[in-house]
């Protein structure tokens, strides 16, 4: 389970836009999209491959933290990527994007890659926000944009992976300081020059344990 990089994501947006469902859909595709069943989760991790490199994505949902300022602040700062989600069938969730974005911009590090996601595009008949509007918003604020459906899994992979690609490119360009874990990027265990000054030496033990115990 070794990886070259670990990217931490957060998912933000109004409640009920399907954040945790997106997360689960991405991290555990085995949950079949079934009618009338919405399952979400607040944390997930998955390995992807970019440019031949194994990259682990850790996604933290921020649900339930809104009440505490200290918490939202810190969440933003610890992430390299953010999915900003709205629901295409609810105009108000789109209208709140500005507030979310302001928050994100204020608290996150300036390099954080933000992807705008219009979720639930399987519900075309109830659509309230046109795709063009999402595109325009993204263009105006310099975000990547995509419409997805956690239910049909449409574009879910792409959303997470494209965000990762963008982060990866930024790393290649040297924009991110990858030695600073506060940026939400971690270098994989085997990629560390030495393991000397890392407080948690735990990355190795996982594999040891995995192999050893059973």
């Amino acid at each position: 389970m070794s990886y070259a990089y670990l990217f931490k994501y957060i998912i933000i947006g109004d409640t009920g836009v399907g954040k945790s469902c997106l997360l689960l859909q991405f991290t555990d595709k085995r949950f079949q999209p079934v009618h009338d069943l919405t399952i979400g989760v607040e944390f997930g991790a998955r390995m992807i491959t970019i440019d031949g490199k194994q990259i682990k994505l850790q996604i933290w949902d921020t649900a339930g933290q809104e009440a505490f300022r200290s918490i939202t602040r810190s969440y933003y700062r610890g992430a390299a990527g953010a999915l900003l989600v709205y629901d295409i069938t609810r105009r108000d969730t789109f209208n709140h994007l500005t507030t979310w974005l302001e928050d994100a911009r204020q608290h996150s590090n300036s390099n954080m890659v933000i992807m705008l996601i219009g979720n639930k595009n399987d519900l075309e008949s109830r659509r309230e926000v046109k795709k063009e509007e999402g595109e325009a918003f993204a263009r105006e604020h310099g975000l990547i944009f995509m419409e997805t459906s956690a239910k049909t899994a449409a574009n879910v992979e792409e959303a997470f992976i494209n965000t990762a690609k963008e982060i990866y490119e930024k790393i290649q360009e040297g924009v991110f300081d990858i030695n600073n874990e506060a940026n939400g990027i971690k270098i994989g265990p085997q990629h560390l020059p030495t393991n000397s000054n890392l407080p948690s030496g735990g990355q190795y033990s996982s594999s040891n344990q995995g192999g050893g115990c059973c």
Binding site: K8, I39, W60, R69
Partner: protein, 1182 residues
């Protein structure tokens, strides 16, 4: 095993519908067959676990029998069983994820209760997973966090067992409070807050008695170590510095977290937190470090501390963020009134005698044990006798509380306790005797029996008015080492690094409305908005503030704008009450003095260059748009590093020193605005002159206008607007004083029109079309004030379109009027600025030649000159200007057809103390009238008009001359005349070139002229010719160019080169030579040319805005000019002539041409890029 596998794959057993009770039964079967985890069945188990989550959620939402079956079979126990075998991360993770999904998605309350009811979940929580595996850790902590989100007064009892004093969810989680992974720490914090939020007295009592002290002491120690690292970062200029932003942000996170806890108002918990936070961190580390700059630094150096700058910064943050009364009050009291004795340990017995808390003695020391150990000790202590005294006493009070009927979901403290803590604090505050810090917290815990005594004490100590007065005279910083340190930090000897933070700290102290009471601040005479009166304020402090303000008005000041703004905020906080100022006269005088200084400083930069006006307005809007936000300011890690001047540091302009001349000008503008505002507020006056554009008077979009007001229909030019996206609209163009308006005739009212577009004339750019003589390209840029100007859409123009007119005459007319309108709009504003800077005549009404001219222009009733009241000039177009338009598409607007030669007069007020000729050269941006008696002035006066805008001409006159010629030649490609310019022999530094431009003037004489001019003008011309022998080879007006003069740092302010001005002359004005002189030492400039000899000339009247000179430099030109200098690297540069056509009229005989010549002699002073001297002489010839 083999059979098991068969079952798994066998479709016989596996129900077709994955969402059904049968499916769960099948899964149960699998579990019971695979109770031992082996390498072989791992995958199966994982899949089973996953499916269970799915089916349970489905059941929760659709079929209750599913859940019943799950509970009936006690399937959760399988989970535990699997877990207890060393199953490896693969299974562990799936297990945790299934639990996560389960608890996150269950909506049915009953289902949730069932899941929690047998103690399985707690067993899972305390299970020792392999936390060194980051993924296991992440899933585990997410699981705990998910559970904490489900907490409420009902569910909490599933997690907290009152009888066994057990609360694994909380105690297990806080063990990770300092985990290396930030997301884990955040999850822990979320969880703790979710727990505290639940209003369950027994549970909170447990938290308070068993966990609060261990957790908070460790937390505070953790924060303190972060602070030490932060300090290290600041000290060491190394690669570590890249981590500084994180440390600062992290510290803010800590403070916000503590504040979030405090804001839950769980008083018993807050007392413990306050105690630890104050006595183990804030006082011993932050406050202690305040003194680390000077006096006390040698003592006790072994104690951990940070630099005073850092401590000022951190304390400001504390007061800006935290408002918990007992905490901030105590902290403020310590800072304001205590001395170093608080750090000398009290005898242990004394503390003990007070029944004091273990930790009340200030000291930044590590907790004796790790959190885990401490928790263990606390929780597993079986009986109460093991508790510390403090926890016992508080637990008593908690017991008391629990006896009372709990208010509906309210944990707020009972009123009696409220009073106790308040009064004890006040008592402490008032009391000038040194009370130990511990007393406060002790008092907090006391039962309130002594309230009345306390209150008496308060009353007795309440500072009477007379006592305050006494204090104002006698106020001393001795015995107040901390306050003294803060005051000393206000001293900006080398820089204002610490001063900015000290200001913020003092501001935050006064601004912490919820927490700090005014009585406390009165002990150091710091009135705030809460004070009834501000009659008495701390003179020592105000004088220090004024000193900063005065320092910031100097040319090479080391005071950043943010510091100045903070000083002023603080001054206002101290002396302004409801718009009334209590500032003593001498202090007010000092501030007025500073304001004068700031005006003088800005005068040095005053230029009629285009960019100056833009900068001026831009800075104003910038300032209004983004007022200083102290909280944001104190979030900026970059401020911790020593102040810098380079923009490459990424530090915002107002938080650093200016770099280069343009930024110095910007800074001067800001300082001027800031001090003007202060002065006005102190005097209770309202700003009437800013912003320059009064939008209330402007025409708005879709406004219906009575166009019949425009007497002459020629003011309405019909045109077709072709926009970029192919639209084609028919409109009428109206040119108002400040605005360009495109109207559509109103269908309802004849002669009225609806404004379909409005733009400011000052922002337009006009260019002809070389292929189509009926066509103009018009761009209207966004004004600096508009919101969109700096936002995402950047500088996209308001309008960029092609205008097609009926014929080429109308086209030319439109062009001229636009061009002229633009110039006049700008001149008007520059004149406003001049008035703001108190540059001249308004105070000293000296009948300058310009004045008359102005009159003429303004006076609409002078038929010969002007036809229309508002758009007087529009009807007149000099051919010259129109032809100039065709000269080059790039600078159509710069043609100074209507330059008014009045500029110099505006500066008149300043007198030049320097003897004569030399001085005017030196003027940096200020034009002076020379004393008429001086030799040079005589020369000048003999020359009708010229402008000398160049600073620093005193150097090297000879060198200037040659290059000037070169430059003029080089410039001629812009259609500019070949000018020859020579310096007037008698005027060593002033160069005046006379353009022979009569050719320009020809043109349109369609309107009446002022005949009186001609004579005069001719005379002038003659003079000019003889004296200056300048030639003009061009037919058009040319605006001269070029300015931008980097100044060597060593220059005194007075030497700051100004940008040269181009004088525009209207035909009604007699050209004048107006040298630009620099005021030195506040001398008044007198008009040279002027004053006496030419008094009666019409142009004398021209003092109004429209007569102001205007330079038309664009950045492009400027750059071009600079390039040029670079290219030939010769000392002298540039020369421009400009001809001025009469405003509204041209006549052959009397056209005014003006040449402004500018020469720059780079003076290599030091390594500075280029130091140019610009000499400008402007001569108007007729």
């Amino acid at each position: 095993m083999f059979r098991g596998k068969g079952w798994f794959s066998g479709s016989l057993w596996k129900p077709k519908n994955p969402h059904s009770l049968e499916q769960l039964k099948y899964l149960y079967h699998l579990f019971s067959k695979n109770q031992v985890v082996t390498e072989q069945n791992k995958a199966l188990l994982v899949e089973t676990l996953r499916s269970i989550a799915e089916i349970l959620i489905w059941g929760d939402q659709n079929d209750s029998t599913v859940f019943d079956f799950f509970l009936e079979k006690n399937m959760l126990s399988f989970f535990l069983q699997i877990m207890k075998q060393k199953c490896g991360r693969y299974v562990c993770i799936q297990l945790l994820q299934t639990l996560n999904i389960l608890f996150e998605n269950i909506r049915n309350e009953t289902s949730l209760y069932y899941l929690l009811s047998n103690n399985h979940v707690n067993s899972i929580i305390v299970h020792k997973f392999d936390f060194s595996d980051e993924e296991v850790m992440a899933y585990y902590i997410s699981f705990l966090k998910t559970l904490s989100l489900k907490l409420n007064p009902h569910t909490v009892n599933f997690f907290y067992n009152e009888h066994t004093n057990d609360f694994p969810l909380y105690t297990e989680a806080i063990k990770f409070f300092n985990h290396g992974e930030s997301m884990v720490r955040i999850a822990v914090r979320t969880l703790t807050l979710n727990v505290f939020k639940v209003q369950d007295r027994a549970m909170l009592k447990f938290i308070r008695n068993k966990t609060a002290a261990p957790y908070f002491s460790n937390l505070v120690w953790f924060i303190g170590n972060h602070v030490l690292e932060l300090d290290n970062c600041v000290r060491m200029v190394t690669e570590y510095q890249s981590r500084l932003p994180d440390f600062v942000a992290e510290h803010l996170d800590h403070l916000h977290y503590l504040n979030d806890i405090l804001c839950l108002h769980i008083d018993d918990l807050n007392d413990v937190l306050t105690d630890h936070f104050l006595n183990s961190l804030l006082v011993p580390l932050y406050v202690f470090s305040l003194t680390k700059r000077r006096r006390h630094s040698q003592t006790e150096d072994d104690k951990p501390h940070v630099s005073s700058v850092v401590s000022l910064f951190l304390l400001s943050q504390v007061f800006l963020i935290i408002s918990h009364q007992p905490l901030v009050r105590q902290l403020a009291h310590t800072i304001l009134n205590k001395d170093m004795t608080i750090f000398t340990s009290k005898p242990r017995e004394e503390v003990a005698a007070h029944g004091g808390n273990v930790n009340t003695e200030p000291g930044f020391v590590a907790p004796q044990e790790t959190l885990e150990k401490l928790l263990e000790n606390q929780i597993h202590a079986k009986s109460k006798h093991m508790f510390t005294k403090s926890s016992e006493s508080s637990s008593m009070s908690l017991d008391d509380q629990t006896l009372e009927p709990p208010e509906e979901g309210d944990v707020s403290r009972p009123p009696s306790q409220d009073m106790t803590s308040d009064s004890s604090l006040q008592h402490d505050t008032k009391d000038e005797e040194q009370e130990s810090l511990s007393e406060c917290s002790i008092a907090l815990q006391s039962n309130g029996t002594n309230i009345t005594d306390e209150e008496k004490a308060v009353a007795a100590h309440k500072l009477s008015q007379s006592a305050l007065e006494h204090l104002q005279q006698e106020f001393s910083l001795s015995n107040r080492p901390f306050l003294e340190a803060i005051f000393n930090a206000l001293e900006c000897t080398e820089n204002d690094h610490a001063a900015l933070f000290a200001l913020c700290l003092l501001y935050a102290l006064g601004h912490n409305a919820a927490g700090i009471n005014q009585d406390l601040l009165d002990t150091v005479l710091m009135p705030t908005d809460k004070s009834e009166t501000k009659q008495l304020y701390n003179i020592n402090l105000v004088e220090r503030l004024i000193k900063i303000i005065i320092q910031s008005c100097q040319y090479n000041s080391r005071i950043r704008l943010a510091t100045l703004e903070m000083s002023i905020l603080l001054v206002k906080q101290l002396v302004l009450k409801d718009g009334y100022s209590f500032l003593q006269d001498r202090h007010l005088a000092a501030i007025e003095q500073a304001r004068e200084e700031s005006t003088l400083l800005l005068r040095n930069f005053y230029k009629s260059e285009e960019i100056f006006l833009d900068m001026f307005e831009d800075e104003y809007h910038e300032m209004k748009k983004r007022p200083l936000n102290v909280e944001y300011l104190m979030m900026d890690d970059k401020l911790l590093l020593p102040p810098t001047g380079t923009p490459m540091s990424g530090v915002e302009f107002h938080k650093r020193l200016p770099c280069g001349e343009v930024e110095r000008a910007r800074r001067a503008i800001r300082v001027f605005f800031i001090l003007r505002d202060l002065s006005l507020s102190l005097q209770g006056e309202v700003e009437t002159q800013l912003p320059l554009t009064n939008t209330a008077n402007c025409i708005k979009m879709n406004e219906v206008l009575d166009l019949t007001n425009f007497p002459d229909n020629s003011d309405l030019i019909a045109c077709t607007v072709l926009t970029k996206n192919g639209e084609k609209i028919r409109r009428f163009m109206v040119i108002d004083i400040l605005q360009l308006i495109l109207v559509q005739p109103d269908t309802k009212k004849l002669g009225w029109g609806v404004a379909k577009f409005v733009g400011f004339l000052q922002d337009i750019e006009v260019a002809g079309d070389k292929d189509d003589s009926r066509c103009l390209h018009l761009t209207v840029h966004r004004p600096a004030s508009s919101a969109g100007a700096t936002a995402g859409n950047g500088r996209t123009p308001l309008l960029a379109a092609r205008f097609v007119f009926d014929d080429h005459i109308r086209c030319m007319a439109a062009k001229q009027r636009l061009t002229k309108g633009r110039l006049k709009a700008r001149q008007r504003k520059l004149h406003q600025i001049a008035r703001l800077l108190e540059l001249p005549e308004h105070i000293q009404p000296c009948p300058s030649p310009l004045r008359q001219g102005l009159h003429v222009i303004r006076d609409t009733d002078n038929p010969s000159v002007i036809h229309r009241s508002q758009s007087q000039d529009t009807g007149f177009h000099s051919k010259a200007s129109s032809s100039s338009g065709s000269q080059g598409p790039y600078r159509p607007l710069f043609i100074s057809t209507n330059r008014v030669p009045g500029f110099a007069t505006m500066m008149k007020r300043e007198q030049n103390s320097l003897p004569s000729s030399i001085q005017h050269e030196s003027s940096g941006g200020e034009r002076q009238r020379r004393p008429s008696g001086s030799p040079s002035s005589q020369r000048h006066s003999s020359i009708p008009r010229s402008r000398d805008s160049s600073p620093r001409q005193q150097r090297n006159s000879s060198s200037e001359e040659i290059p000037l010629e070169d430059l003029s030649k080089s410039r001629s490609r812009h259609s500019s005349p070949n000018l020859k310019r020579q310096s007037a022999s008698g005027l060593p530094k002033a160069r005046i070139s006379a353009p022979p431009n009569i050719s320009l003037i020809p043109v349109f004489s369609g309107h009446a002229t002022i005949s009186s001019h001609s004579g005069r003008l001719t005379d002038d011309t003659g003079k000019i010719d003889t004296k200056l022998a300048a030639e003009l080879g061009c037919k058009n007006h040319i605006v001269d160019s070029l300015q931008e003069i980097p100044v060597p740092k060593s220059l005194r302010p007075a030497e700051i080169p100004s940008v040269s001005l181009v004088t525009g002359s209207l035909s009604e004005d007699v050209p004048h030579l107006l040298p630009q002189l620099h005021a030195q030492d506040g001398d008044i400039i007198q008009s040279v040319s002027g004053s006496d000899s030419e008094m009666d000339s019409p142009s004398e009247m021209c003092t109004k805005p429209c007569c102001m000179n205007e330079t038309s430099f664009t950045e492009k030109q400027l750059l071009a000019a600079l390039d040029k200098t670079r290219i030939d690297d010769q000392q002298l540069m540039s020369e421009e002539t400009s001809l001025n056509l009469s405003e509204g009229l041209c006549h052959h005989s009397s056209a005014a041409a003006e040449i402004v010549s500018s020469s720059e002699a780079p003076q290599k002073a030091g390594s500075v890029k280029k130091n140019n001297t610009v000499n400008k002489g402007a001569v108007h010839t007729v």
